[in-house]
Each structure stands twice: as structure tokens, then as C-alpha cells.
Subunit: 425 residues, 2 copies
């Protein structure tokens, strides 16, 4: 019997803690297989620093609230990149695992996090340390591996973000149709890096295509000039327009900053895609009276539990539980996945893929789901995404006008090793 | 017995249609005093164009849904400015009123809309046309007249926007505390033009001041450099920081565009306050590892019914009803207002002020509610604003995963006058 360590990294999601609770609950249901469940505080950084929270001893009512507590505030997250095999970080991780008898390591995250999990799994093998390392997907971007959608249909977090966009767009289109002549173009910037899944979810706010809505995906390869033609064409026809632009849409701007993995940090751009589009449109003469105005929901779309999809919450919890099954059944080196069962009615199933296949992988909005004019998605996409956002609003516990988040006690395990300064900090 | 015309203008709010319904319901409860209730489609523009929707004959169940239908989609809005007394627009308005026997004109809106209502009231007097013209306040900015707060405590729409910010900030602070080292500064741009009431509402998301939250009000007169000192100081102490910057905070940028009233349209800025702050912070060396990222909720904060405050919905409805009482009791030239009754427990009352006093007026966040360091509000502000956001989530009717908005039939009255092209279009 060994102890368990769970951690997460990358940007948070509204349902990330539901997966955490799934792991914890499942481990606790096998008391003969699993000892104490620890959380690495702030992802792999917490492992390197030996900052391990004790999850097993937290109050049950607080743990239950993890299902509706967004972001990674409960146990933290990071964007720490583990470097090449020669890095002393690996020996350090094994040292900490040994010190606390960690036999199972569950890592929740996206492409980069699976890269981290894969590296840890391999390092343990190299060092001859017995470790079962299992990944749990989490990213609102829906851009993790498997372009066939067979082995991984979608990632937890995407359904809630898509629900945010569905409701946001419904309200945005209602607002846009009200104002005849001044703010004729409303531009919204969607997350998703170079993948258009979130941008595409805007269509769920107007699935019957009653309103003038244009989506510009990073995958469309349109230029800013072509975008402007399409917007102006819509203005001539309808007098108004709502535009959703993927943060990774290439506007020709280049004032970017980068995160710890070397990826563009779009939220820190010197000029955002939204601003480039708004400025381009406003500096030419629009074919109707009025002007373009811009919105960047930014991290709001990934951190607001109010919009959580109940389907997403339930699946995030279930895939966390399933990861424990994968660890017990298949051993180290896999990531648990959500698949879609065949049939007319949407039903999720659970499977797994090798970590190596998803580590650092990318997946894009399939061209077959983008309409020929490049500014909309097909009904096939609607059929894919609609079940993920659920129906009714999720019941979010409230207290004194605010949400009631889980409050975990800062119970940290006593450190048993010498202090270590991670190579990347 | 005369007919009634109701219209609205300016930016929408989540509760604007609750006031509309209040007017309609109250008028219908005096069938011996009021005839048909019409709506000017898209504000005063609809009056000028004689585009009058018939509200009285709409299905009851659709009208009831107006209470939770955000924005002005139901009857539209505009940003049309009535010019000086010599404009032919005034004679045109009277012509349309005469043609449809309009004896009561209710206009829902903010400072500029009250200017319009006041001008229409005066024009009718000049022309000797018997008209009772009554204003109904509506602005998320909370910046309409009466700096004493005695005659007008707050405007409908502000409570819902403040609730949006309270919940947004709660989630934003939870997200910010999770990420240790990459996105250390999250910058959010708040609406409110040159008034800081919305920016201040961020404090409602962390009323006990547990998190590093800094607010930069337009009223603070800090420079971008001073802002940066304060952010860096917080970073040194806490390692992270959430910044809320008023859209009207003076960053020294000047690439502005203007609306029909000549006001800056902050949403259409060539460089927003958020972008100026993010760029300034990122281009210097932050005292901790990481970078600043930015968000602009923009019109989302004024159009999303999901965050509507039940207190705000109820008051918006009640002030609409009260406006009808004001019209019957005091005659033309007043705006109905919400006041705060004395006592420990929050209770709203209703009063009125002369339209002339609020037309084009402005109100700012009182200096006494801003802390000496200029980056926070006092507990007096919290006591003022907290009751306005309510407690539980408002029950928003849903249908097939989306909100169920009121669907009014496009029932327009038959035109009786010759076509007219408004001077300002």
C-alpha cells in the first residue's frame, strides 16, 4: 500500500476541482490499495518544494464543495516546465516521492501538463522507482491530442467554457440587435490559442442562425483585410454584426509575450486580436453609421463557476474517478479520457490513451466543421458541442451574496528532505 | 383618456425591461386613465420615424418574461441626440404624438436620455400640446444626478452590474491566487465612464479584504506611473495582484472615438485603459516573475441577465410603476427615483426629481468613499452597495440550454403621417 499524490497545472477551469475530488473519492473507496492522498501545492512546483497538502483529512463538507469550486485555488497550479533528462529536477521529484512513500501520481492538466506527467513517469522508470503515473485531461481549449475524436471526444472544462460562450452570445446578440446605429459591430475575443473550439461555441448561442454572427477561427487563415470585407458585407446586409475572433487569429500583430513553456501568452499581448480588429474596422469607413467596440472576456471564460455545465461537472468528476481505475488496471503511462458512446442520445464513456501520445500534442477545429465561407461552423459541430453545455443552470452554492467555495485547511505534511531550489524558478 | 408612449435610450442594462413592464402594468391598472400603450421602437428614433409597437396586445406570458429579459432587444434603444430648439425634430415628435393621441410619454434612460425627455417636455409646452413627460432612470453607471444621494440613491441597473463585478472578482481572485508565478497580475477594465461606482463594486467580491485587489478610479487622478508603483508594491508584498481599472482612468492615451452625444465611446478606443496598463506594467521589469494579462468584460457587464440582482429587478419594476404615479400626481417634467429609507435594514423607497435637474447631469464616486491611498473603497461604500446586489442568484427562465427571453410580436401601429428623415440620422 502506497500513498497518492495528485496535482494540477496550466490554466484553471470551472470544473478542475471536480476531477480532483473524483481522484480523491475513488482512492478512498479502495482503502486497502491507497494510503494518504496528498496534493502537490501549485502543481509540480509543490512536489519540487515538498509542499504537500493532506487531502484525506479535510472536512467532508468542504471536499464536497470542490465540485462547484472553480479555478485551482484549492491546491494551486503552475506553468513550470520540466527540462531535459539531465535536469536535477527529476532526481528531486523521486526523492520527494520516496520520502513520502508516493506510489501513485495523478496529474490534471492539458497538453503541457501531460508532457510533465510523461516525463515524471519515464524518470521513475529510469531511476527504478516504482510509480504509477496517470494523467487526467483538463483544458477549456479542447485541443488535447486525438484528431479522430475516437479516443478522446472532448476535455473536461470545454463544456463549461462553451456554455459561457453560448449564454454570452445570446446576450450579446440581444444587445447588438437593440442598438441601431451607434455600436453596430461588437467584437469578442475568444480563448483557445490556435484552436477554434471555443470560438466555435459562440454558435451555440444562436443555433438557428437568426442573428448576424461571424466567427473568425485561427484555422481559417483569413487575413485582417478579408475579415473586414466579411464584416462590411454583413453590415451592408444587416446593419449590425457580432464578431468573435479567436485570440490566435493572425492579425499581423507581433507584440507577444511568452509563458514558461515558450507559448504565446495571448492575455499579455501588446496588442490583442480584438484590438487589432476593432482598430482596423474603425480606421476604415464602415458602410453604416456607428463603430466597432471590443470585449475580451479573458480568464473570465475559464474561471467563472456560475456558467459551469452540469454535464461538464459530472464528467470531470467521473474522469477523475476513472483515472484511478486506469492506474490500477493498466499501470503507469496513461491518461484517462472521455469518449462518446454510439447512439442517438448523447452519452459519455471513459477510456485511456498513452501519455506519450498526448504529451505536447495539439488538436484543431476540423476543417469539415468550418463552413466554406470560413465564418461559421456546420450543424455537425452543433451536434457535437450542444450536449456538452447541458440544459439548466448548475446549482452553485451561495453564501451572503457570493459563491461558497470549498475552504481547505492548509494542512501540509512535515518536510522530510533538505530544501531544494527548482532549476526553472 | 389618452394613449401612452414608452421608449428607452442609451446603453441597455439587465433590468431595463423590468421598468418597461412596470410602466405597462401600472398603466393597465388604470383603464379609465390610459388608453393603448405603445413603445417607440429604438427610442426617440422610433418616435421620429413613427415606428410604434403596440405593447398592450402582446401575450401576457411574453410580457411577464420582460422582467428577466436583458438589454433593449424587446423595443430597441438608440443614442440619438435631439439638437437645439430650432430643430425640426420637435415639431415632428408633436406631429406623431398628435396622430396617435399620445398624452403620456415615459422615457427610460440615463443622463442623456433625461436630456431628451426634458427637451420633449419643453417642446410640448412651447407648442401648447398637452403632454405629461416622465423619466425613468436606467444606467449601470449609477452616475445620474444628485450627489447627495438623498433624492436618488442609485439607478436601476447598477445593482445587477455590481453583482456581476462581485461574482467576477470572487472568481478572478480565486484564479489569481492559484497561479504562483506566470500570470501574476490580472487587469480588468470596468465600465462607468468617468465615474467609479462600477470599479468600486469589485470590492464586493472580497469585502473582508483577504486578497491583493487594487482599484483605480477615474476620480483618483493617479498617473499610470503612480498606478504602476502601487501594483509593484503589492507584488513585492503578495507576489500577485488583481487590478481593476475604470475605463475612464486617464492613462495618457488619446486614441478615442465618440458617440452621438459627443461622449468618448470607451469600447471603441484605439487603445483601452486595460491595454495601456498591461503594456506599461509588462514593459518595465516587474519585481516578481510573471506578467500582466488583461480582460475587458465590456458590454457583457451590462447585458448578461444571468447575473441580475433580484433586488435590482424588483426595484426596476417598481420604479417603472412609480413613474406612472408621478405622472398622474405631479404632471410633466419629473423623473421617478429610488431612494433609501432610513433604518438599519436596507429598504428602498420611491420619489422624484425635476427632469431639468438630472438632464445631462453627472455624479461621481464621493471622495469620502475612496481610501486615502486611492486604491480601495471604504466600508461605507460596502454598506451602501452590498444590499443592491441581493443574495441568491435570480431565477432566470431557461429553455433548451439558453435563456428564455420575452418574444414580443412585431405589432406596429399603422402609420398616419408622411415619412420623415430625422435631422441627426
Amino acid at each position: 500500500m502506497n500513498n497518492v499524490l495528485v496535482a494540477q497545472s496550466g490554466g484553471p477551469s470551472p470544473v478542475i476541482n471536480a476531477s480532483l475530488l473524483g481522484v480523491l473519492d475513488m482512492c478512498r473507496s479502495y482503502p486497502d490499495r491507497f494510503g494518504t492522498v496528498y496534493a502537490g501545492y501549485r502543481g509540480i512546483e509543490g512536489v519540487l518544494k515538498e509542499e504537500l497538502m493532506i487531502l484525506s483529512d479535510q472536512p467532508e463538507e468542504e471536499l464536497a464543495l470542490l465540485k462547484t469550486t472553480p479555478s485551482a485555488g484549492a491546491i494551486g497550479t503552475c506553468r513550470y516546465k520540466l527540462h531535459d533528462e539531465g535536469s536535477p529536477d527529476y532526481a528531486r521529484i523521486i526523492e520527494v516521492f520516496k520520502a513520502h512513500d508516493i506510489g501513485y501520481f495523478f496529474y490534471i492538466g492539458g497538453n503541457d501538463s501531460m508532457d510533465t506527467a510523461n516525463k515524471v513517469s519515464k524518470a521513475a522508470e529510469r531511476e527504478g522507482y516504482p510509480l504509477i503515473c496517470t494523467g487526467i485531461p483538463k483544458t477549456i481549449d479542447n485541443d488535447v491530442g486525438d484528431p479522430t475524436f475516437q479516443l478522446l471526444d472532448h476535455t473536461p472544462g470545454y463544456g463549461s467554457c462553451a456554455r459561457y460562450w453560448a449564454l454570452l452570445m445570446q446576450n450579446a446578440l440581444e444587445e447588438n440587435r437593440a442598438i441601431s446605429t451607434s455600436e453596430c459591430v461588437s467584437v469578442y475575443q475568444a480563448m483557445g490559442r490556435k484552436a477554434g473550439f471555443i470560438t466555435a461555441a459562440a454558435r451555440l448561442g444562436d443555433p438557428e442562425r437568426k442573428h448576424p454572427l461571424l466567427m473568425f477561427f485561427a484555422e481559417s487563415n483569413l487575413t485582417l483585410e478579408e475579415l473586414s470585407y466579411k464584416v462590411n458585407d454583413m453590415l451592408v446586409r444587416e446593419g449590425r454584426c457580432v464578431v468573435v475572433v479567436n485570440e490566435g487569429f493572425d492579425t499581423g500583430a507581433s507584440d507577444f509575450r511568452h509563458d514558461g513553456f515558450g507559448h504565446v501568452e495571448y492575455g499579455a499581448s501588446g496588442i490583442t486580436a480584438m484590438q487589432a480588429v476593432v482598430n482596423y474596422l474603425n480606421r476604415q469607413k464602415l458602410p453604416v453609421r456607428g463603430q466597432a467596440t471590443g470585449q475580451i472576456p479573458g480568464v473570465i471564460q475559464r474561471s467563472t463557476a456560475i456558467f459551469a455545465s452540469q454535464v461538464d461537472i459530472d464528467e470531470a468528476y467521473a474522469v477523475g474517478r476513472h483515472a484511478v481505475t486506469v492506474a490500477l488496471t493498466h499501470g503507469t503511462g496513461y491518461m484517462a479520457t472521455i469518449i462518446r458512446l454510439p447512439g442517438e442520445t448523447y452519452q459519455a464513456g471513459y477510456s485511456h490513451v498513452p501519455l506519450a501520445d498526448v504529451a505536447g500534442s495539439e488538436r484543431f477545429l476540423p476543417q469539415s466543421w468550418i463552413t466554406p465561407d470560413q465564418t461559421d461552423v456546420t450543424d455537425d459541430f452543433i451536434r457535437y458541442a450542444r450536449p456538452l453545455i447541458g440544459d439548466e443552470m448548475a446549482q452553485i452554492p451561495m453564501e451572503n451574496g457570493l459563491q461558497r467555495f470549498a475552504r481547505l485547511f492548509p494542512l501540509f505534511v512535515e518536510k522530510k528532505t533538505k530544501p531544494y531550489i527548482p532549476a526553472g524558478l
